[in-house]
Symmetry: C2
Subunit: 324 residues, 2 copies
């Protein structure tokens, strides 16, 4: 049987993660990386092409993994690409997923394609666990915690402050609240009460720690109302300890199966590399995408629509034997 032929659109951290991850999936092969940049400028040993040539690969790519950003890349590229390719993306603008689904569903159906949208870990594996938790414990509450991990948005916000040379922001779940939930207690969960923020800053010459700290902890939307700790470190420590794009989080369902009998359902990820793991999930869903297309079940799909066994490189027979 031939390998599943994959194309990568966009060569940022996520695209690089897909390239790396495909080496761990022997039933797949990378046809090429497609970029808006000059393909010769990409630092890769994979075949690299200009985005302008992508349409020539219509019959050479089974699934195109779209690795651009959710803010502008995916909403623009998705509807175009789903006319030509089976696609996988990790569109993560939660509020706009229903709208994006409708658009992609119509286009994919009209073109006999499959578009797997919003994979990754949140949305993605976390969505699955919110679903499973609620379905098996219909009376209860679901809590999502993010971190410990790097928030790109918050790190960017700190870096925009005058006097900040380098900065990284970690989101941390409140350990005590997690423990209370796991112990079956009621908690007052909001995103703000459930998370702390920790910032590591390298100061530029001639700026004062206290002023910068004040500016950070009072920044509206990003930090105001949160418990924020700011640490000032030197350049060397920053480079040594704060370059990894680590992340993770938890989905916890606390529910009762009868009066007084509490069940705790918990899913947790701790990831050394957020983009590499997201890429790895995308790859598993690319395999499912290919199989669903083979089965002519065209249209847009979320992780909730896809039978778990389709993600595996092994046969259902082997999985029944070894995994069930």
């Amino acid at each position: 049987m031939g390998k599943i032929k994959i194309g990568i659109l966009g060569y940022g951290n996520l695209g690089k993660g897909v390239e790396e991850g495909l080496r761990r999936n022997p039933d797949m092969e990378l046809v090429g990386v497609f970029t808006r940049r000059n393909p010769e400028d990409l630092n890769t040993s994979s075949p690299a092409y200009s985005l302008n040539n992508l349409k020539d690969f219509k019959d050479k790519i089974d699934v195109l993994i779209m690795c651009g950003g959710s803010k502008s890349d995916i909403p623009e590229q998705g509807p175009k690409m789903a006319q030509i390719f089976n696609t996988v993306d990790s569109f993560d603008n939660h509020g706009k997923i229903p709208e994006y689904y409708e658009i992609m569903d119509n286009i994919a159906k009209a073109n006999n394609k499959v578009a797997v949208i919003s994979t990754g870990w949140d949305p993605g594996l976390f969505s699955l666990n919110r679903l499973f938790g609620e379905a098996v414990l219909p009376q209860g509450n679901t809590y999502t915690f993010w971190g410990k991990g790097v928030s790109q948005g918050h790190s960017d916000a700190v870096r925009r402050i005058k006097g900040v040379k380098k900065a990284v922001q970690y989101t941390l779940p409140k350990v005590e609240m997690v423990e209370d939930i796991r112990n079956g207690q009621e908690v007052a969960y909001t995103n703000r009460t459930a998370h702390d923020r920790e910032v590591f800053v390298v100061l530029a010459e001639g700026f004062k720690r206290d002023e910068i700290r004040e500016e950070i902890v009072n920044m509206p939307d990003y930090f105001s109302g949160y418990n924020t700790r700011v640490h000032f470190i030197d350049d060397e420590e920053f480079e040594r300890n704060h370059k990894k794009i680590s992340h993770g989080g938890k989905v916890i369902r606390q529910g009762t199966t009868s009066d007084g009998n509490i069940s705790i359902y918990q899913f947790e990820l701790a990831l050394a590399s957020n983009p590499e793991f997201t890429a790895s999930v995308n790859i598993a869903y690319a395999r499912a995408c290919y199989r669903i297309a083979q089965n002519k079940d065209y249209g847009a799909k979320t992780v909730l629509d896809i039978a778990p066994g389709l993600l595996s490189m092994y046969s259902m027979e082997e999985l029944r034997n070894r995994i069930v």
Copy 2:
């Protein structure tokens, strides 16, 4: 839209759990409990019938949840019931699942029925997590831990010892090994090295603690080779603290997304009532079973074959909006 009509076959702890759980699922209704015993002897307010009358309910039950044991009840009842009903079971004899699947698949297909087999938490939710973990982290290792929880088989084995009045056995995962895995270290995992056993015994009059302890910790297959702690307690403490059929466990996948970048994927359950939670999972899969049958996709299914969204009482549209 009418409610999904459920029948319960067998009224032990699991059957009672399904009866209780159905009260938490407003889109379903209980048609009746079916028993080999005299139905008048069941302590229930639900309609109760003799197993002999079950075939009269052929057109009155959408899904029959089989709540007997995996040792003899399910292997005998499954093939008969799948001729007449869509079925859900929690057949948990892992080694025999492939064989049982084949039998149920043939019968269900021949009779235009759907047979969802081996649901619950292990097999069931744990199977799903072994699958997801391996699919998204193809280079890595998967570890399953059970406990802290009551093992019925081990409790029974201790109770058969002369001089033991009451006994309960808890299986405990080795906390240090779990921590090592979560820290990305390699471990020498076997079922035996990964679990401890803890036994609480109420002695009968005239028997000696040390002799009973020796007999327990050296019992072949059950305790020999395990780290086993035996506690002797009085009747009152036993009744107060050791009557709940609690259980739980963890599935952990430790894998790399690139050299040196480790991801930890962890799923965990802590259940006040093992049979009630198993029942609750069965109910969610009964909903999926009904929908798959409506869709005429007949045959046997494991949790790996079933799209997660089918488990929910909510529409896919609402789920995309609220959960993805």
